[in-house]
Symmetry: C2
Amino acid sequence: MITFFPGPSKVYDRISEYLQDAFQEGVLSISHRSTAFNELSRRAIEATKAKLHIPDDYTLMYTSSSSEGWEIVAQSLIREKSLHLYSGSFGERGFQYTNYLHEGALPYVLDVNEAIPVQDLPVDDSTELIACVQNETSNGTQTSVDTIRALRDAYPQALISVDATSAMAGIATDYTAADIWHASVQKCFGMPAGLGLLVCSPRAVAKAEEIGEKRHYNSLLTILKNIEKWQTNTTPNVLGIYLLMRVMETAPDIAEVDAQLKRRAAQLYAMAEQLPHYQPLVTNHAVRSQTVVTVKTDATRLAATKDAAKAEGLLLGNGYGEWKDSTFRIANFPALLDSEVAQLVDFLTAYANRPA
Amino acid sequence: MITFFPGPSKVYDRISEYLQDAFQEGVLSISHRSTAFNELSRRAIEATKAKLHIPDDYTLMYTSSSSEGWEIVAQSLIREKSLHLYSGSFGERGFQYTNYLHEGALPYVLDVNEAIPVQDLPVDDSTELIACVQNETSNGTQTSVDTIRALRDAYPQALISVDATSAMAGIATDYTAADIWHASVQKCFGMPAGLGLLVCSPRAVAKAEEIGEKRHYNSLLTILKNIEKWQTNTTPNVLGIYLLMRVMETAPDIAEVDAQLKRRAAQLYAMAEQLPHYQPLVTNHAVRSQTVVTVKTDATRLAATKDAAKAEGLLLGNGYGEWKDSTFRIANFPALLDSEVAQLVDFLTAYANRPA
């Protein structure tokens, strides 16, 4: 079965070999306070920063999931007021997690085809942080790096926080365009679930120090103090960090990955636009995701399509939230082979065009 | 190298096979909202409850680590006042995490050879929770199940919370003697790090509902709502849950494991008592750990012993905290073979008794 489910998703075939290596090398038993761990953690972080072009002065840290990333940002980087821009379920969840901790968190809901109106946002001098979603996994929308950069330019007093869950390691981005980026490895990293990543700018680190929040086991200042020694606040998923090291040390440069995904996304959208009875959910090209392609159809056809695909060994992602009964999703993640994407395109084209 | 480091520790040899199976079976890519995940999560929980004799009406949940377990207990099960009984670094850390959130958390520090004076504790009707450590990994002390039961009997209004990090799946216990038990799988479960477990009694669940705390992504009520469907609040370590299922489905009954560990602990303590220049740190048999044996010696001999052991392929655990420079620790966890423990005993006996 080839899974196009957008996370947990297809893992790289070479993960099989890395798992055996981890066992053979004794990695599963090393102490997270040992020099052996420090060394593999350093290599994982350095390879990830190099391949993704994360600036030297940005800090890369481990979390247990992107949900923990939201919580850490809300806990340690906001005193009262933040603005949350989103069109889908995961952006909404990030807002809600923040709102539980700070009543001053403000939602700003976008239509799936609406770009962020950068100049017209309800932001004032007291807005400490603006959160957006680089790639909304639930509906396949995307915030471009130009828009993220424009947010930073328009509101220089605020930290810009980006939920990059289904984008990091798939889409090339300019990390200097924002202050916080958080993601999970079960999407574009092609790895098993159980590890999240958090990237912070020097400005974000300075803000954490200014706020001084240290009340939680996962307070950002605690994580920062440990990661200086390549370590973690709690016993981490050592195997996950080892797999990250292996995957990122062998990964192509992000520019190459990005080009491949964009080419395949163009192919998938062109297909969806040409098929009878199906269309891309997102019609505005400016906010279309490159990594999660969402296709709309009627409820009866939706169920039949998913069943027929499954019978061919192709697992389509279900729709999510309000789009549950009218869309399916196609992960266009780096671990998927071009031939697998081509096989899906062939199947869907034949299936949709077959005579009644 | 045979590692006697008390966590992350030696994993079961069969983990190698399970890792390959997980890859082959496509487990690494399944959605945590799929029926396939629900089924493996159900099996993992049912096998763990069966082998460890966790009562049917107690709820078993996943966390990312035992540190998260402390935080969840502090967040969701305490309004103001709790008492924390400990003699070592991890018990102290549990107190500190709670104290960050509640000024009403009170420490009660025990000597390493002191049993908990159950009848003489500073507990009153406003004490909502009493925390103790079943097995303190830092110094090799243990709270017996009789003492835990006595705490519950003496203070029936309080929840009893047990840090069972280096004990669960190693030591047989009566889970009805307390309300909360939390642990990690990189100790007695013989698994790679990256998964924690939390067990709650019906009383603890009722208290969580009464308090109604829902402000965090890992609030206990949120976890409980998900685990009813065998699911999790965030994307979990699916591979870890799969390994838990495989390990626990093939594990012997806890009574059998407990008997094996007690026999080996007796052997290790007898050795330490007989060796010249070495002695067990914990001399009071009533509070001696069965799973982490801590041996005291002078600083020079300590370094030499660790080096000589390493040269023989035996990795001793370092001392921890205040015992860092005067003790080494020997994990006596189920994944270690009797022959490996015997090898260590032979080495230490020969090493300590060799002519000057």
